[in-house]
Amino acid sequence: MKLIRELWDSLIESLVGLGSVVRFLLRLVIEAPRALLRLDLISQQIYNSGSLSLVIIMLSGLFVGMVLGLQGFQLLQRFGSEEALGTAATIGLVKELGPVVTALLFAGRAGTALASELGLMRATDQLSAMEMMAVDPIRRVVVPRFLGGVIAMPLLAAIFSVIGIYGAQLVGVQIMGVDSGSFWSQMRSAVGLSDINEGIVKSCIFGVTCSLIAVYEGYYATPTAEGVGRATTRTVVTSAVVILFLDYLITAAFL
């Protein structure tokens, strides 16, 4: 009986959490058009979450692409169709690995930065001070960070995919000796715009998810050193689980 009671309570608690995240998202969306007037704030946040994540995204993209080239070659060679390597690598990168790995890295690199920054602002009462000065901290601080992440994420995913394709090409064509012409021409005949679309839709949704979770955890962090730490951890863990879950849903929806 007690167990059921506790389960019920935790269920209600998680529903409350979900509801408050969704309400926070609605608030951000309502404030977004006015925040768009302050393009300088947004561009600074694009720099923070986008440009500063470029190096890790490009390096990971290169290695993921190279591994894909190696593994794909090994597998396809058994069926005597190494030429399909370009198709396999591109579809894998554009539809799955690009958006998902980028989102996971983005949550680790940019999401934690956002959460700890906002958490520290909360802990040092900077957000309350803004409210005292009649500056809405959501509009001035949170929305630009959110929008910066939302804009940066699809671009990062696209860069990841392109670098990955070149990584696969490097291993497949330069090292393993797949014919470069059939690598590209088979890719072109097999990859459609709908595949690219799926990747773009995924990365946009992941961008919203990652940024939302990061700013939510940061904004509502417990105002202590420990609370900021916990907000950062929860950002990464929640983002990773939600991204992988959403990835399944979107893939199923696109089939």
């Binding site: 720099y47 986008g50 470029l54 169709s81 671009l155 696209a158 072109r188 005949s189 715009l193 595949d195």
Partner: protein
Amino acid sequence: MAIRKTRTLNLGTGMFVLLGFAALFFLTTQTTSRGISFASPPHYDLTAKFDNIGDLKVGAPVSMSGVEMGRVTKIAFDPKEYKAVVTLRLDARYNQIPTDSDAAIYTQGLLGGKFIGITAGGAETYLKDKDQIDFTQSAFVLENLIGQVLANFTKSSGQTSAAPDAKPAAPDAKPTEKSK
């Protein structure tokens, strides 16, 4: 100082956004068949009618002696002859294909995609734009071949087991080998 800092910041942001959109542009144009071709090279179209095209797709290569000369641009159906009408777009450089050449559908590798191979004939006149290749050979359909092999196999194994000199063998032994 502050102005210079803003300037580098804007530069970094701008470069990132530019790179991102360049990547998106690359993905949409270079990895798909619907890419933007900046200058369409001179070409001419031929048609060929096949009984069965298998899984030939639009965009499949057209080659002669293994050299790619063009692509399949359209696949239609002729309701009068019940045949598939395939439109081939060939590069204008290769405009000396004899009129009695024949087109056949081949498979790349064992299970790869289909492509059209043209074998030159001996005529003195050459195919021109909108001409039709009259001699065609349909796609090799794996299912039909497997069906034939299976039919032969069951027929021959039926004969051997009915043969009077067949020894009673273990039930999983191959009957065709036994008869030799």
